[in-house]
Symmetry: C2
Subunit: 363 residues, 2 copies
């Protein structure tokens, strides 16, 4: 780093005139009423990391506002409608939601793009796109149509490609492979001949154990450890399909507008911090849980998909994105913005993080 200390001619004498903390007259206060917001989260009660993010946010907002902004959170066990969060916030039954944008592609196909994309940006890259590359503006444009605001709500980091009972050595091994993998990634694997499926969470372990499915993806060590998949499916494939899964805070536009300016800013900053904080927490939990997994089950084998499989996935991804871009002008605008930004920022990541991890910091 540059040494700022050499940047200027300086005297050793500090400015004695600099005044300290001083208490002056009262400012124009907004108001001192208590504003209460109700939030529906998409996760069950006590769900780790995902559930910590909105609670961390609500705690910061309440403390920063001196108790003037109180946010209560209903888990999915309470509202019993995780599939309806979009509608409940849009309709005003809840002021806010904590969920993921890509769950709502059935409501609006363009919500798909604001969570993560296969072969897309990493978390630091995606935050740069959101906050400096036009991403936030595009996301607000999509949600404005539904009279809602949307903000980043916490990142998992790179998700793993999943747990496989058998090794994948070629494209042939994907034919007919029953894999629990939802969403856009599932569409890509279907193009390659696999049979993507979805299975209730409580039945996942048994389904894998009894060969009802051959493979599944979940998140990464941060949340996979407690699911126990590593005990029955030894091949852990590295990630390709969700390189920066960002959760989302949704807010009803009218609820937002009712807040005074200072509480809007408190809410905005609390959401932004909680989002970054979840990325930090995920990084920590992944490191910690990966160490536990390896210690308890030394037979876990980390694998990378063969090049021919990755190339075929990429080709399918390109084809599906092209179809989506042709479907509507807004999708085209978002896809092009992401592609252009990724190209620029990845050139930097490749000479910075990639080079560092490859050679400089190698074991």
């Amino acid at each position: 780093m540059f040494s700022a200390l050499k940047k200027l001619p300086f005297g050793k004498k500090a400015l004695a005139a600099a005044t300290c903390l001083s208490i002056l007259a009262a400012p124009a206060m907004a108001d001192d009423k208590v504003y209460r917001l109700k939030m529906a989260e998409g996760w069950p009660t006590n769900f780790p990391i995902f559930g910590d993010s909105p609670r961390n946010m609500a705690k910061m907002a309440e403390e920063m506002s001196g108790g003037r902004l109180k946010i209560t959170i209903d888990s999915a066990n309470k509202h019993k409608a995780p599939l309806a969060i979009f509608d409940m916030v849009k309709g005003g039954q809840y002021d806010m939601g904590h969920t993921a944008s890509y769950y709502w592609k059935g409501k609006d196909p363009n919500t798909l793009f604001f969570t993560t994309m296969p072969f897309g940006m990493t978390a630091p890259e995606q935050y740069a796109w959101f906050y400096h590359g036009g991403g936030m503006e595009l996301m607000q444009k999509v949600y404005k149509r539904h009279r809602m605001l949307s903000f980043p709500g916490g990142n998992t980091g790179i998700q793993m490609g999943g747990w496989f009972r058998k090794e994948i050595n070629s494209l042939e091994d994907l034919q007919g492979l029953k894999m629990r993998i939802p969403g856009f990634a599932g569409e890509i694997l279907a193009e390659l001949g696999a049979k993507p499926t979805n299975i209730a969470t409580g039945e996942l372990y048994t389904s894998l154990e009894r060969n009802t499915i051959d493979a599944l993806e979940w998140v990464g060590p941060s949340l996979d450890l407690r699911m126990g998949f590593h005990k029955i499916a030894p091949y852990y494939y590295t990630g390709w399909h969700e390189p920066a899964t960002e959760l989302q805070f949704l807010i009803n536009e009218r609820s937002w507008k009712k807040l005074p300016k200072d509480l809007q800013e408190i809410l905005r900053v609390a959401m932004r911090t909680a989002s970054y904080d979840m990325y930090t927490q995920s990084t920590h939990a992944s490191g910690e849980n990966w160490a536990t997994m390896k210690q308890e089950y030394p037979n876990i084998q980390v694998k990378r998909f063969p090049d021919e499989v990755i190339e075929a996935m990429r080709a399918a991804n390109t084809k599906l994105l092209k179809e989506k871009a042709e479907a509507n002008p807004m999708a085209k605008e978002i896809i092009e913005s992401q592609a252009k930004y990724l190209k620029q920022v990845r050139a930097w990541t490749n000479i910075a993080d990639k080079q560092y991890l490859d050679s400089i910091a190698g074991e």
Copy 2:
């Protein structure tokens, strides 16, 4: 990612009972006085990115507090004492500083460890160490002795290894090499036979052009572009010595204690967000400026140091850290904490980010 939508049995009926934003009685307000804090930053007026971080922070704090917390910032052009920020905040001439911890190793050798370390953690890893791995507690312990608090203040991301006029092909090429590289990294290069030196910022370009020095390091494309080094030194070496340079907010303990609880939380969260935000801004600016550099000067060659050079740097780093750990128990505690945490978190980064950047996301 797991599909939360499948996690629970759910009805389509949202809980109609969920109440909307409602305005209730007034809470116990702290007070409505205006608190003014004076901050000295270590950078000249209008210094990009580094100077944006404290301003972003002060703006958030003022808006979130409805004008009750006002922070004014004196640049180094005004206080003329960037080398004295530590003392000025400790002594109370300023309530706060925006600087970097490792500048103060002459005041307290253990401040060295809270900025970045050669071959150390990347930014996401280091944030995880600060907030979940005991890093914050160790930093506060060091600064407590000086009656100050210290918080992360913004990250540059991985810094480049520097601009070289000639290629480095072996350890031999480092013998007598005059390089502007301050601090701990300079000590490492001195062990290898180079001649590290420091030069006033305004004279750097000319010194490099006239061969007064053979090489220099600055930051990375985010701040290097405007310095113009790429026009006269075509070899741009990848980073090893500052993988996650974190700036720092310093606060006088008494100034902190005078703030009411809600303003303390506003200040804490504003600093935390500004710190993360600078990492995001650095990522963006590096991508953007790297694209400009390559376009304007296609002759820039990105190089990695040869393995034998990296191994020698590593060995010197290990030797110097060992000496520092032996010097005092607090240094030993910090060095061991970082080494242990790095080992755990890097195992995750290697199967996540490294694998993704290496193969999955390759061009």
